[in-house]
Amino acid sequence: MPHYDEVMSKNEIEQPAGAIFSARAVTKVYRTGTVEVRALRGVDLDLFAGELAVMLGPSGSGKSTLLNIMGGLDEPTSGKVFFRGEELTGYTERQLTRYRRDHVGFVFQFYNLVPSLTAWENVELVTEIAKNPMRTDEALAMVGLENRMDHFPAQLSGGEQQRVAIARAIVKRPEVLLCDEPTGALDSKTGIIVLEALSRINTDLGTTTAIITHNAAIQQMAHRVFMFHDGRIAETRTNEKRIAAAEVSW
């Protein structure tokens, strides 16, 4: 089984300069029984290095589907997805696993921490398999949890759990951080603390970050905002003036 880096070199394509991610005419159709759901109806998108992008849109508009495809959790029905010039859509299951392991960090609405591991251990879990991770303590310090490291998820608040999830996502120094409704289960105060952590990582580490949200207020902290509607990107906006995460309110 060739390493995906080797596969990549054979599939060089033209990506816009500085683009980490590119999606081209991506569609996704789910079939459950006789019902056919067209989740994506042809999406083109580029994400650039160090960019913080917010994806907005109603439920079922296709944002999560696109994020999952970008993260190697799902495959498009048609179209192509490129990561640093390499076509993800041709990857085998094993290559996708390697891709997730080495390059992508995920943050989900429901944290998905391992309940039997402490905060520190949840993060350490990833350093054990990553190529060039930062220190676990360092990652936890970045999300302000240096004093809660030895607590189990059940002993942490929702915001704290989400910050552990963020620390776990960034400890491997991923090129891309994909966040699906990271504040969806949180109240606004803790939500803002989580956004601050995401913003700091984007600034300090230069990690390309994509955040899916229902919460329109969050768009103000993004470099660019993609408005999803009915499986397509209805509108792309560039924020001339961004506000700090701390100033976001809802």
Partner: protein, 787 residues
């Protein structure tokens, strides 16, 4: 169908693999009940019917020679319903196609009418005609072993004369269902034949006119047994009586009893194991189902279903599983039971087999299975019915995990985080971990119990055939001879060494306790026949006094140094006091040992021998065979190599069948336990494991969490299983112990290793089947829902 019942059908369809695994374990429990009890009843019934139809006697006695005029006195003993006075003689047979001689026993049948007791059952041909001295009826097994039929014949050495005997009929005898030659360890249908001849012929041949040497009695008042036996012994004392015995001590019957006892203990030990394991599996599955359906249960309650209705719903689900197990188990048990009974029917010789259909047994098995299942489910059902609906509709509180070792070495990577996940999960649910390990350990225990018999029998073979009896052959005379006969035997072709022995039947009495047995007397410095201590070391026979086996010491409450009263049955019932010098080992039969000279002095009739142990040059064995076929004085002989070979053959047959059955049972338990625990872990931790996949862990790495947990459980099960197996094996050995034989208790380390190997292999295969589920995880959907 009501909606809730429809839910049961769908639940079972959805959980079919787990349901099947539990049902199979239950089926094993049911099958072993139906099999063992069914075979027990069939065999018991067949034997009882056969005994009844052939008028099998209640009391047996052997004398040297007694006059028939005693008959009326014996028949008039109160309680005696019928008596039969027979001539029974050993003979040597020269069978075509057999290098070595065979031995046999010939039994008289009355000149007129059929025997009153122990009637032969005619299978083929007719009984020999009165007036003929060359006609016999032979037992079926012997006929089959030599492909003989009525009309065929063979040569026999009868009272010193070679005669050609013609077969008129083939019969079965209730006395020889288990046809063991005198002094042999295993029945050998080729080398031992039982035959019947009319009394007049035997009277003539053996000069027994107006006499008998074997008596059998039917008793109509069982409370009169002791009195009858005493009276018989008293009447026959002057005629060289060996002492009357009851039916339970009759050798063929005693072996059958032993076999029935084993079937019964199987029925008592094995099914409870399976029922326990299935109760535990039901508990595991139902607890999981209930926790998954917690919110539904809240809803049922919210819309007005009562606690009883909900409890009944889950109980029905459990009962359906039990019913599946019952159906599979009953069918398998009935089928195997018939097979086993047939096997017994072939081994023992019955003319017919009576299968007892036992509806009560199925009802019993069904009832016990349902109870076990409901007992397993009780806690889970109780926990749901008692939850208030509002609480039930909320998700259960998250599991609280704890650090292992109280947080010691918190940030040191002693274990990978995936291993930590696995171990914390195990520690978090100690009861479940322990019961799962216990369940798996039963597989190890069952296998240990099945496999240790090879070890014990190896030691038994080594002890009996290589430490104790080191001769090639034992030659016995019909009556005792002067010691000089040893010189004659030594002169036979190929004989390398001869050691005489003398044996005499006695009744030993200590207070109110008494035992009938034989005293065997050997040379003190014997090398062929050796007496072994309880640690299997050769013991030098003392110049005076005797050595008795542990079991006899127990029966008579004797210790070394005690004096026991010994009645010499063949010598007019003279009673002498003999000191017990030591306790020895005895694996086969009950026998006391003395130095040969000491016994001679005790009896006081000079230097006599009953036979000799000989070692023979293997190259000259054929010449030895030829001599035996023509030497009149020799009543019987056994060749140890043949006995050993037969012993091994029968054991291997029986044990290999048993072993494969037990391996099957162990694999089913392992599968049931491991598969269910894997599936439940997977269900409980789907989200966690899917998260690992998202984080970039490979399938193999994610599986390792599951496999480590299962591995730890299987590993924990091993020592536990060894311990349980050791206990089961011990109880099996003690269940076997009887006056007939005792098997030494030996479990070799390799047996534990083999048992573990089978269980580990079955466990690994099962885990691999369960592991495939991880490959089918839908990562996206697992992560989207909140548990």
């Amino acid at each position: 169908m009501r909606v809730l019942d429809r839910k049961i059908v769908r639940d079972i369809r959805r959980l079919w693999a787990q349901v099947f695994a539990v049902a199979m374990v239950m089926a094993c429990g049911v099958a072993t009940i139906v099999l063992a009890v069914g075979a027990y009843r069939s065999l018991e019934e067949t034997r009882a019917t056969f005994y009844q139809r052939q008028d099998f006697a209640d009391i047996f006695a052997t004398v040297t020679r007694a006059p028939l005029r005693l008959a009326s006195r014996i028949e008039s003993i109160p309680g005696v319903a019928a008596a039969d006075f027979r001539i029974v003689q050993p003979l040597v047979l020269d069978m075509q196609g057999m290098r070595e001689p065979a031995t046999g026993i010939v039994i008289s049948i009355p000149a007129i009418g059929e025997p009153r007791l122990n009637k032969p059952y005619l299978r083929q041909g007719r009984l020999p005609a009165v007036g003929r001295t060359d006609e016999v009826a032979i037992v079926e097994k012997f006929a089959k072993a030599h492909a003989l039929a009525p009309g065929d014949g063979f040569d026999a050495l009868i009272n010193g004369k070679r005669r050609h005997l013609r077969i008129t009929g083939v019969v079965l005898s209730p006395e020889y269902i288990y046809a063991l030659a005198p002094g042999d360890l295993m029945p050998d249908e080729r080398r031992f034949g039982v035959m019947f001849m009319p009394r007049p012929a035997l009277e003539g041949i053996y000069d027994m006119k107006g006499a008998f040497n074997s008596i059998s009695l039917a008793v109509n008042d069982h409370s009169a047994f002791p009195a009858i036996i005493d009276e018989i012994d008293r009447l026959l004392k002057p005629y060289g009586s060996r002492g009357a015995i009851e039916r339970k001590d009759q050798i063929s019957n005693a072996f059958l009893d032993n076999e029935l006892l084993q079937l019964r203990s199987m029925a008592l030990v094995i099914p409870p194991i399976f029922l326990f394991v299935s109760a535990f599996l039901v508990n595991m599955i139902l607890s999981r189902l209930v926790s998954l359906e917690r919110e539904q249960i809240g809803l049922f309650k919210a819309v007005g279903y009562g606690e009883a209705a909900i409890a009944t719903h889950y109980a029905k689900l459990v009962l359906v599983i039990a019913a599946i197990g019952l159906v599979i188990g009953s069918a398998a048990g009935a089928w195997l039971g018939r097979g086993l009974t047939k096997l017994y029917g072939d081994f023992f010789t019955f003319p017919y087999l009576i299968f007892r259909e036992s509806p009560d047994l199925y009802a019993l098995a069904g009832g016990i299975t349902a109870l076990a299942a409901l007992a397993g489910a009780a806690k889970a059902i109780w926990s749901v019915t008692t939850l208030p609906p509002a609480v039930a509709m909320r998700p259960a509180a998250p599991i609280r995990y704890r650090r292992l070792l109280g947080g010691f070495g918190a940030h040191i990577n002693l274990l990978s985080q995936t291993a930590t996940m696995a171990l914390r999960h195990l520690v978090r649910r100690p009861v479940r971990t322990a019961t799962t390990a216990l369940g798996t350990s039963f597989s190890v225990a069952i296998l240990t119990t099945a496999l240790f018999m090879f070890d014990s029998l190896d030691v038994m073979i080594d002890t009996v055939f290589f430490q104790g009896e080191r001769e090639n052959a034992i030659v016995s005379f019909a009556t005792t001879h002067d010691r000089n006969v040893v010189t004659d035997i030594a002169a036979l072709p190929g004989v390398l060494r001869v050691e005489p022995f003398r044996s005499t039947p006695v009744k030993m009495t200590n207070g109110h306790r008494e035992v009938k047995l034989e005293i065997s007397a050997l040379p003190a410095d014997g090398d062929l026949g050796r007496v072994l201590s309880e640690d299997s070391l050769p013991v030098r026979l003392p110049d005076a006094g005797m050595l008795i086996p542990h079991r006899v010491a127990g029966k008579l409450d004797l210790r070394p140094g005690d004096i026991v009263s010994v009645e010499l049955l063949l010598h007019g019932g003279r009673t002498v006091d003999v000191p017990v010098v030591g306790i020895i080992q005895s694996l086969i039969g009950l026998g006391a040992y003395m130095e040969i000279g000491a016994l001679d002095r005790l009896v006081g009739d000079g230097r006599r021998v009953s036979g000799a142990r000989v070692s023979i040059d293997a190259n000259q064995i054929d010449r030895m065979y030829a001599v035996l076929k023509t030497t009149p004085a020799i009543a019987s002989f056994s060749f140890l190599d043949n006995t050993l070979e037969k012993f091994r053959e029968i054991i291997e047959q029986n044990i290999s069948i048993m072993t494969s059955v037990y391996i099957g049972l162990a694999v089913i338990i392992t599968f049931g336990v491991v598969y269910n625990s894997a599936r439940i872990q997977l269900a409980e931790r789907a989200r966690e494991l899917a998260s690992l996949r998202v984080l970039g862990f490979t399938r193999a790495e994610v599986s390792s969490v599951l496999l480590i947990e299962l591995g730890v459980i299987i590993a924990l099960a091993q020592p536990l299983g060894w311990l349980l197996g050791y206990g089961f094996a011990w109880s099996v050995i003690h269940g076997f112990e009887s006056d007939l034989f005792r098997v030494p208790f030996v479990v070799e380390p390799a047996t534990f290793a083999r048992a573990s190997l089978v269980v580990v292999a079955a466990g690994v295969m099962t885990a691999m089947i369960a592991r495939r589920r991880i490959d089918r995880f839908d990562l996206v959907s697992v992560l989207k829902t909140r548990e």
